[in-house]
């Protein structure tokens, strides 16, 4: 007799789980015919009652009050840290301010260029307006000539500084804060050597590092810093959304077996 279809249902009945009436009837009928399954049902019922007794026996147990005290302290410490952080402008916000400033400067410069170009393209002619009647025709002619002269001088000179500012490279350089400039300079300096500090490999499999594959490959990936928490590593919560570098050991089948975190630092 094939008992397989009934085995899990026997457990479910013994545990008081809801199963449909028809299946329950079938299982109970089977347990009457099959000695093994009948015995299993009785054993399962005894086990369920023993597990219930055990659950009741430990139901009143809870963590000691000192944990609540410690957690309250941790909460207060975190709140204090957050208050301090509020006074320190965040780097991301600084970037935002610089970006907005840069955008305003760029639009202002573009406007200046357009205005200058419109002056170059259309020399001033004598207006036939009320001003001509009040000032007199000669006076108006003199003013127009002086304006045209100035415009010609400007056209022959080097383009104004505002023109240079439209160039993206120079604009970016002007709007970058000092610390960013420094970072770019460091990046460009090929002389400086870097060193990597790595954590130990942390197993991602149940059997620990003993189950590491003999053959496989190590792949470098970038993860959110908050992923470190899952491995019990401390993180700076201010930077939880930033990326960290990690090496993942992949087996030949492509299964991730272990991970280690990499920190790049300048060589002393």
């Amino acid at each position: 007799m094939n008992c397989n279809p009934f085995e899990e249902k026997i457990s479910a009945i013994a545990r008081g789980q809801l199963i449909d009436a028809e299946s329950k009837q079938d299982v109970l009928a089977h347990t009457e015919d099959c000695v093994q399954c009948g015995e299993r049902l009785r054993s399962e019922k005894v086990l369920s009652s023993q597990l219930k007794s055990f659950a009741v026996a430990v139901s009143d147990i809870s963590a000691s009050p000192k944990i609540e005290t410690a957690l309250r302290q941790a909460f207060q410490t975190k709140s204090k840290q957050e208050k301090v952080v509020q006074f320190v402008p965040h780097r991301k916000n600084q970037r935002g301010v610089w970006a907005v400033g840069g955008a305003i400067a760029a639009s202002f410069l573009t406007m200046s260029v357009l205005v200058a170009q419109s002056f170059v393209a259309t020399p001033v002619t004598a207006p036939k307006t009320l001003a001509a009647v009040i000032l007199g025709a000669d006076e108006i002619e003199r003013v127009i000539e002086s304006i045209n002269r100035q415009l010609q001088e400007n056209n022959t000179k080097e383009p104004p500084e505002t023109f240079h500012a439209v160039d993206r490279g120079s604009l970016r350089q002007r709007t970058k804060p000092a610390n960013v400039k420094k970072r770019i300079a460091v990046k460009r300096n090929e002389e400086i050597k870097y060193t990597e500090i790595t954590s130990e490999f942390i197993s991602l499999q149940e059997n620990g590092l003993n189950s590491m594959p003999e053959n496989g490959q190590v792949v470098r990936v970038k993860l959110q810093r908050s992923a470190l928490l899952a491995y019990g590593l401390p993180i700076d919560m201010e930077r939880a959304n930033e990326n960290v570098t990690a090496d993942v050991v992949l087996s030949e089948e492509g299964v991730a077996c272990a991970i280690r975190f990499v920190h790049t630092a300048k060589k002393e």
Binding site: S11, R15, R40, R42, L47, S62, E68, L71
Partner: protein, 200 residues
Amino acid sequence: MSNFSSLSDRRLLRLMEAGDEEAFVALYRRRQQSVFRFALQMSGSMEIAEDVTQEVFITLLQSPQIYDESRGSLSSFLYGVARNYVLRKLKRENRLLALFEGEKEGDESFIADADPLRDLTRDETIKAVQKAILALPQNYREVVVLCDLHELSYAEVAEIVGCAVGTVRSRLHRARGLLIEKLSLKDEWSVVSGEWSVEF
């Protein structure tokens, strides 16, 4: 504090994120017992259970954003975090080995002996059940603890353990078979599985 009893876990979490200490304490008081008992039943050690409980709530305090409401209840999330901490601690401290080697009667028992007139047979049975559960392989132990002792549904356990519902069901079936053997509840019936024919 009584005002918080009617609030949902999610609401308390939001208040906690906004800096309300009492909301955090209310959330802790509501959920600490299940986290603590789970850690205790998985490890058999009061010390580990207390450490794990503290670490679970510190994690919640420091990074509440890692809880994703769309992926399940806060309770399941806390069980999941507790499970990870327990497994890490067990690996690190090799507690299970110590448990099997120790064999000091009552040393690892966490059942309170508050009532001296307690039925001795019942007490012995409970200690035997505790020992048998601790002797189960970790992936079987956790489903027994969560399904039978904490009375969670298969779906909730699958979410916590990170496997399919069918896997939870079959692991529970095998785990109960091993417990029956261990507790000698049956003489003739035996677990027919080459994989787990381990004598504890």
